[in-house]
Amino acid sequence: MSGRALILGARSAIAAALAQRLAGDGWDLVLAARRCQRLEPVAADLRLRRQRQVDLLEFDALDLESHAGLADRVRAAAGPFDLVVCVFGYAGDPDAARRDTGEMTATLGTNFTAAAVCLGHLANDLEERREGGLIAVSSVAGDRGRQSNYVYGASKGGLNVFLQGLRNRLAPAGVHVMTVKPGFVDTPMTEGREALFLVASPERVAGDVLRAWKRRRNVVYTPWFWRWIMLLVRLVPEGLFKRLRL
């Protein structure tokens, strides 16, 4: 199946890998990001290598008012789209997020509020048309709040519940919603961070996402073992967990 895919947050490393895979599978692309002209080399490369139509769209996730008209803007710029891939996110600094209001609001605002508003409006559009699909990249951090990263975890946890709701709402319309939960990925977001383990490449994540999408999975952990790691993490009783320093 192929058509046109809209990638929100196209500057991310995972988005770049997904764009290559989707274009290879025959999808035309709309790459949406802030200052989208920086993506011109990426678009040129995809057009040359894969001979697909690639359009750039200026998109600021934090401009909440603009999301209501996003679907129309995409259609005007490029054409009808069949797949929405939401990849934007803000990791921030967990230590700063404990004290600094700006950091807290940036993390929560980007990962949860902006994503929810944006996807909410796009979901309305998809439901009306009764076709298409939605993939949103969350994180394993959203599965349980941990002292080391709870602001980011909360934003992704909130997004997980939002996506569950969308999945429920859009199922009768035949629109599939998939939640992607990656562990640590080798991207600029994790650069310079210590104590990372089992770091996956963006290409590995992209491969897992597309394989799972073809099978219409609801929630995909990438790489696969994170499902079991997080299951164990979730099973720890709260009375014990609160004493751990995970």
Partner: protein, 472 residues
């Protein structure tokens, strides 16, 4: 999950960007809001020397400009396929994420691509469309930026020259952040200084390259077995005008009359309808090894067997481009065979007249210090390059040695011999040259320094190579 030229998915405990301080200390600097920069061990293909440096990845032109402005000193790094310390320094700007093709004209074969695009990428894109890199070194995993910075040559220098001969334009980011375009007509001094300039003139963002039209993925090769060095040299010289590609593998381990025996490969692109198959990624991969596997006895045996792989004196065969141009790419990480101490490659060019004597002298000096594990002999034609250009009309011999205790001194003496004979050592392979030797070997060094002063007045672009050889 693992790609040969991408950061691998690490299954083991990994600390990204951290490292101990062994050797050169990391300089604490301010980059964005980070107060301290973590370093990691960096080295070239020879895995020696190993120095700690901070790696900054440039994802797009804006990143390159920001890094050019903010980094106190730095050198661009591509795939790290130079053998010594050309892409090693206290600060290193990795162009690997700049891996996008920008433009291609299917009629003229002109390709514009970012500097991190490898020749592997170019072949995969261009060959199905009937085009091929006009000059390719012994590996396809080097980046276009690296090919320009080292002005690489292939098996066809005698006919067409080096990589720079096919570069129409460079888009560069100078120290200080300015984006400029240079070519033979626009800022020619920067253009020529950058070709072979080992990245010391600035950061390369994009390369415009003229590809060569081909109709086949195969090479028609004439293999000639020779009995000694004199015969090999004579054959290479005599056939200079006859074939597009010529190279000789020689065995330097025997003493006396059989030294320099080997196989001369004389090739031309086949005239065939098949632009397929494309090369495959290597099936074999060497793991990290605790010791050097390359020993004299084993080498003697291997060389003797390899010499006898062709029993007839002359043999014509059709060979796929991948084992023809990039035989060593068949085993990923083959440099690990030399163990943690790494190895050294000594490649030099000498004029034809004194060539054989100089080669014999170099071989004699190094023979006892370490066994020569690989010796490749080619001829260069008269194709002038930039001020730091390596090729000169004559012979070029590339020698690999495991890093034994005495080989460095022996190679120092050998470099002296080469310099005295009017030859020079290739900076892209070098790990040992001194400033005096470099001055002698590269008579146009002042021209290079003048260009650097013009385009990098603060001397912000530097590498371990430039510090060691006094290029800057």
């Amino acid at each position: 999950m693992y790609w040969a030229h991408q950061p691998p998915a690490t299954w083991l405990l990994a600390r990204k960007g951290s490292g101990g301080y062994l050797g050169t200390p990391a300089v604490p600097i301010r980059l964005r809001d980070k107060a301290c920069v973590k370093t990691e061990p960096l080295h070239g293909w020879g895995r020696h020397p190993r120095l700690h440096g901070a790696v900054h990845r440039a994802r797009d032109l804006d990143d390159l400009r920001r890094l050019a402005r903010s980094s106190p000193t730095g050198i661009g790094r591509g795939a790290g396929r130079s053998y010594g310390d050309a892409a090693v320094g206290a600060h290193v700007i990795s162009a690997l994420p700049l891996r996008h093709l920008l433009d291609f004209d299917g009629q003229s074969g002109v390709l514009k691509a970012q500097a991190g695009v490898t020749l592997d990428d170019v072949i995969r894109f261009a060959l199905p469309r009937g085009w091929f890199p006009p000059v390719t070194p012994g590996t396809r995993h080097c980046t276009l930026g690296g090919c320009v910075a080292a002005d690489v040559h292939g098996k066809n220098h005698h006919r067409v020259g080096a990589f720079g001969a096919f570069v129409d334009e460079l888009e560069m980011v100078l120290a200080g952040g300015d984006v400029v375009r240079c070519s033979r007509t626009e800022l020619p001094d920067l253009f020529w200084a950058t070709l072979g300039g080992m990245g010391l003139t600035g950061l390369i963002h994009a390369v415009t390259l003229r590809l060569a039209p081909v109709s086949s993925a195969f090479i028609d090769n004439l293999g000639v077995r020779t009995g000694n060095l004199g015969e090999t040299c004579r054959l290479l010289r005599e056939t200079q005008d006859d074939h597009a590609y010529s190279v000789a593998w020689i065995d330097l381990l025997p003493r006396g009359g059989r030294r320099g025996r080997g196989h001369v490969l004389l090739g031309d692109h086949a005239d065939g309808p098949a632009l397929a198959p494309l090369h495959r990624d290597p099936r074999w991969k060497l793991p990290a090894l605790p010791a050097n596997l390359v020993r004299r006895t084993g080498l003697r045996l291997l060389n003797a067997l390899y010499y006898r792989r062709q029993l007839r004196r002359q043999r014509r065969r059709r060979v796929h481009y991948s084992p023809y141009f990039h035989p060593l790419d068949g085993v990923a990480h083959w440099n690990r065979a030399y163990g943690p101490r790494g190895f050294l490659q000594f490649q030099f060019a000498v004029p034809f007249d004194s060539g054989e004597e100089v080669m014999a002298d170099v071989v004699e000096r190094t023979r006892r210090a370490a066994p020569c594990s690989l010796a490749v002999l080619k001829t260069f034609g008269d194709h002038p390059g930039g001020p730091l250009g390596f090729p000169m009309p004559g012979y070029t011999l590339a020698l690999d040695f495991p890093r034994t205790s005495r080989i460095e001194e022996a190679l120092g003496d050998a470099a002296g011999t080469v310099a005295a004979a009017g030859g020079r050592v290739y900076l892209a392979k070098d790990a040992l040259l001194t400033p005096e030797q470099t001055e002698t070997m590269y008579p146009r060094l002042d021209e290079f320094r003048a260009a650097r002063r013009r385009y990098d007045p603060g001397g912000r672009v530097r590498s371990a190579l430039s510090d060691r050889t006094g290029l800057t």
